[in-house]
Point group: C2
DNA sequence: AGCGGTTTTTGGATCGTTCCAATTACGAGT
DNA sequence: ACTCGTAATTGGAACGATCCAAAAACCGCT
């Protein structure tokens, strides 16, 4: 920077002002300095800047499973918002591992992030964000909430979605409905299956614990969940799946058995990932609108960066998208 | 850090040594300092460290399209390698936009990355990495190579894969084979369709330009590509797709028309994403082994970080995975 | 020319770390 | 007790930016 100052015939302070595009420098001087910057191929050192001035322009997004298309979509959506706001978003994957998550959080903190959006990994301890929050780093949890954490959160209305989907299956005449996939000890599973229970009970149908079959929230989880459900003495005729990826597994499993999804067995997913409408048959699912949710999380974080300290607990809207995998004709709205 | 020094009754230099786990400090002193660190809830400031010592432990991964499962898998694979090596990997998405990519590259450079793995976005100018490389920052291109760029690269053997897949379809008796999806002006399209041409010509079958139908490398690209192919006066009976996602689109399109993939029309993909074997029917595809490729790219970068300056141009192995979408019986190997 | 006010520019102190050369502490050997 | 070599510790000068208070340049008026 001093080189540039010399080259342009000004002081380093002036160069600094130009770099931060301050209105205090004369246009002519600015041009001079900018020329020098180009000539010397200078690169700004953000680390040095952050040393003095606490405000960094780097935000972190800590994602539990980037291989899951839903979270990848969410991440990409959030990224877009930050970009527009002049922040530089970096994504880190935790692969659903709390230890790894702790490392990542530490690294981001050391790097001096302005704020964080976190989809907490399974088994995140309630004090995972304590240090960050105590330091005044805005932390927003998205999609999942670890209870006891004193950090903002934006999560979809999982319970309502679970209820709506179940009501839809009930309205189609199903009485034995399974809830497949996902781990029982996660936030989302508790809420989504909670809605499912509510709907069954409201309809006067008891909840059969044997029909709630958990497993990994991926394709395999769907396939093995289906296998176990169909092996039951009194097998179900429909399933609400923990998420769309599980539902894809169920679809594949049905086909392997020569059953036609939507005809021989009704399937409903959760999330509405981009692929859901391309599945065969197109998947009926609870739309979470990852983009809106991500946008809201990002906005919340930006507000916190700018000093708004009220800890938000946002609930995102959710609605059932009826396609064909549930067997409903198109005339039948949610 | 000075606070800690005071609290532990040593000098800041000693604290610094402890933080870098130098063997020069006595075990007892170390324990003392570590205690003080815990007590005061201190966080290391990586930016300040990088200021003095050029070597940072942060590496960047710049990905052209995180919403594409293939690249997401690749990113996750690369991440794992760096993690093991004690580096902190951050992912940034460019959404196939060269301007955005330039911004991201600048941000990473300002942040002081130790090295970069880049899947260059479409339309990346050949001098995109010039500054980085001139600065001595190791840059490894993965999956795609922008020609003219003086940076290492690890790419799969696209041409060979395209040829193998085409030969397989020819062996199954197909004579009208389309090449669907992907943009003609990309590196991967040129190579993959190049292999396709080679195979056709070697078999004495001319290449019909009308059968090479480009489009976005996503599901829609597959669906519309198929529509255009089938509308041709002399429609093809098989298709090699630019990548698996395009192939998924083709599969869906066939089904919509009441055609059975693998029976009425043969489909081969490219990449072998995790979902390929779960598609219905399971997708025959050219396996790229994203994990091995990512690992190799990461290793290359690490070697460069440690001073090995030889600019590698690696070619990754590729092999055809025959499943059902091509109509081959299981007895028929590649 | 001198004055007050506004716009630009500037030197030095500072952020939290690492590096280096210098210092001190320790043990063993005479 | 003294010296020597090694092990452990230390103070101060960097690194590259920002911030602040002060200085300089410029302007229009008398």
């Amino acid at each position: 920077m001093i080189d540039i100052a010399r080259h342009a015939g000004v002081s380093k302070s002036t160069v600094s002002l130009v770099l931060r595009s301050s209105p205090l420098v004369k246009a002519e001087t600015r041009r001079l300095v900018e020329r020098a910057i180009d000539d010397l191929g200078y690169v700004y050192n953000r680390g040095a800047a952050n040393l003095r001035q606490a405000r960094s322009n780097m935000v972190g997004m800590v994602i539990n499973d980037l291989a899951n298309p839903f979270f990848a979509e969410l991440a990409v959506g959030i990224e877009r918002v930050f970009q527009g706001a002049g922040y530089v978003p970096f994504i880190a994957n935790t692969a659903e591992n709390p230890l790894r998550q702790a490392e990542v959080l530490r690294a981001l903190r050391e790097q001096g992030v302005a704020g964080l959006i976190v989809c907490p990994s399974r088994g995140t301890p309630s004090d995972a964000f304590k240090g960050l929050v105590a330091d005044g780093v805005p932390v927003v949890q998205a999609m999942r909430r670890v209870d006891g954490a004193r950090a903002a959160s934006i999560v979809p209305d999982n319970r309502r979605g679970g209820r709506q989907a179940t009501e839809h299956l009930l309205a189609l005449g199903h009485r034995r409905i399974a809830f497949l996939g996902g781990y029982r000890d996660t936030f989302a599973h508790a809420e989504r299956s909670g809605g499912y229970r509510q709907a069954l009970e409201a309809a006067g149908i008891g909840v059969d614990p044997a029909l709630i079959i958990d497993g990994p929230p991926n394709r395999d989880g769907g396939e093995t969940g289906l296998a176990r459900a169909l092996a039951l003495p009194n097998a179900p005729t429909a399933a609400l799946c923990f998420n769309d990826v599980v539902a894809f597994g169920v679809l594949a499993g049905l086909r392997q058995r020569g059953l036609t999804p939507g005809v021989d067995f009704a399937v409903v997913g959760f999330d509405d990932v981009a692929d859901a409408r391309h599945a065969s048959p197109p998947l009926t699912t609870v739309a979470v609108d990852s983009f809106a949710l991500g946008e809201r999380a990002a906005q919340t974080m930006l507000r916190m960066v700018h000093g708004d300290a009220t800890p938000v607990e946002g609930i995102g809207d959710v609605h059932l998208v009826v396609r064909e995998s549930c067997g409903a004709g198109m005339e039948q709205a949610a």
